[in-house]
């Protein structure tokens, strides 16, 4: 029987990218990070992260190994939450390249432009105020970041920067242009996974 102490298993798509940085944040929040490289790795996951990396590379390799279809199946199939016992869609969070892939695979109704924030010279850190996430400032990094050009009606914009959406949600799918994990920031992951999965 799962207890209050049951660790939720959050997968991190581990084709390449900043997998270890996401894993470190999940461990701080008492989740169990699980590297996902094959279709079998999707078994028994309570949530999933698509990390930062090169979206063209990750997308291609996902198709070669059938992981694109597996991700779509995973994202759209309700599963039992081991803590609440309820059936619900698994929570998925994409950062940067992950945002691009979620939109590309039709899991997030948004139009994205790759590298629209510029080259590495234009990469930046900033502090965000997102009251629905935390009363404190949130540190994030935009690294060769993609821009959300527009979102569909069913997409909720959770945060904007300079008037442009940067953090969005469509049902169980969360996505951000930025990286909280690069700066060791836990609040975004906590908001997404702790509240949405254990509530």
């Amino acid at each position: 029987m799962p207890t209050k102490n049951t660790k939720l298993r959050i997968g991190i798509l581990a084709i390449h990218g900043d997998v270890a940085e996401h894993a470190a944040i999940l461990r701080k929040l008492k989740f169990e990070p699980v590297e996902v490289r094959t279709a079998q790795d999707f078994e028994n996951l309570d949530g999933l992260i698509l990390p930062g990396g090169e979206s063209t590379t990750i997308g291609k390799l996902m198709e070669i190994y059938g992981l694109k279809n597996e991700l779509i199946r995973f994202a759209t199939t309700p599963r039992k939450n081991p803590i609440t016992g309820n059936y619900q869609l698994p929570t998925i969070f994409g950062t940067c390249a992950g945002l691009i892939l979620l939109a590309k695979f039709g899991l997030l109704d948004a139009k994205i432009e790759r590298n629209a924030y510029g080259r590495q010279l234009d990469s930046f850190e900033t502090q965000l105020k997102i009251p629905t996430v935390s009363s404190k400032e949130i540190s994030v990094a935009f690294i060769r970041a993609p821009k959300i050009l527009s979102v569909g009606k069913s997409v909720e914009v959770l945060a904007k920067f300079e008037g442009v959406p940067i953090f969005v949600r469509e049902k169980n799918i969360f996505a951000a242009s930025f990286h909280p994990e690069t700066l060791g920031e836990t609040k975004i992951h906590e908001f997404i996974f702790t509240r949405k999965i254990t509530a």
Binding site: H16, D18, A20, G53, E54, R119, Q120, E125
Partner: protein, 293 residues
Amino acid sequence: MEKKTATPRLKKGLAEMLKGGVIMDVVNPAQAVIAEKAGAVAVMALERVPSDIRKDGGVARMSDPKMIRGIQKAVTIPVMAKVRIGHFVEAQILEALAVDYIDESEVLTPADEQFHVDKSKFQVPFVCGATNLGEAARRIAEGAAMIRTKGEAGTGNVVEAVRHIRTINAEIAALQKMSPAAVKKYATEIRTPLALVEEIRKLGRLPVVNFAAGGVATPADAALLMQLGCDGVFVGSGIFKSKNPAKMARAIVLATMNFRDAKILAQVSEGLGEAMKGLEISTLTTKLAGRGW
């Protein structure tokens, strides 16, 4: 809200996004497109791959900016380019081109026998080669945001890259067993700030991403270096000097992703045609790894 650019964390951050991936040397836009299609996470733009530099001899310098721009236009993945050791003006030029990473590389002919580039002064992040922990630590102290083994570039012989990563691993393991007094002495010996040495000791690894480079010629070579603990792989001459570059490039990408899965490694190693012709290290007249200190 305030935007901060070119912080050490951002410089290191881009390399973190490349982990588990393959960075390929390319000499023109067409090769860059092949590399991107095969699944490279970045390309290194240079005029001649190391094996040709070795063959042609003479002074090897930064590439023509026109050629670098052509490659930047051809692909959407990050573009890196090389400067000579210590040649900070070549680095200024590459920064003006807005390349995503600068490689201060022993593959080119060194420009300064005393000083490496002061990398902390630049907005663009740097990657530097290392053959041991002291060298890696000195480069990080100078501002390098990513390290790679030197290996012996342009040989298709992986033995030097293996030596370098094994040396770094062994030196970190030894550091972790040292008494506080010995750590202090070691920091002085390797001419590195104590705080950085303490950080390496605490982490049990370099505080920046560490790729393999130099002599990688097959998918098995890439997987070997990944199993030895490298975070990713640079492939220079190994791809475009092989019989079938597109196929070899894809195979090395798949091997790097699945470096622990021998079945997949066997599949991707099949029917690749001839790998680049390798060179025995003892027969070399110029050893590139000895450049820099």
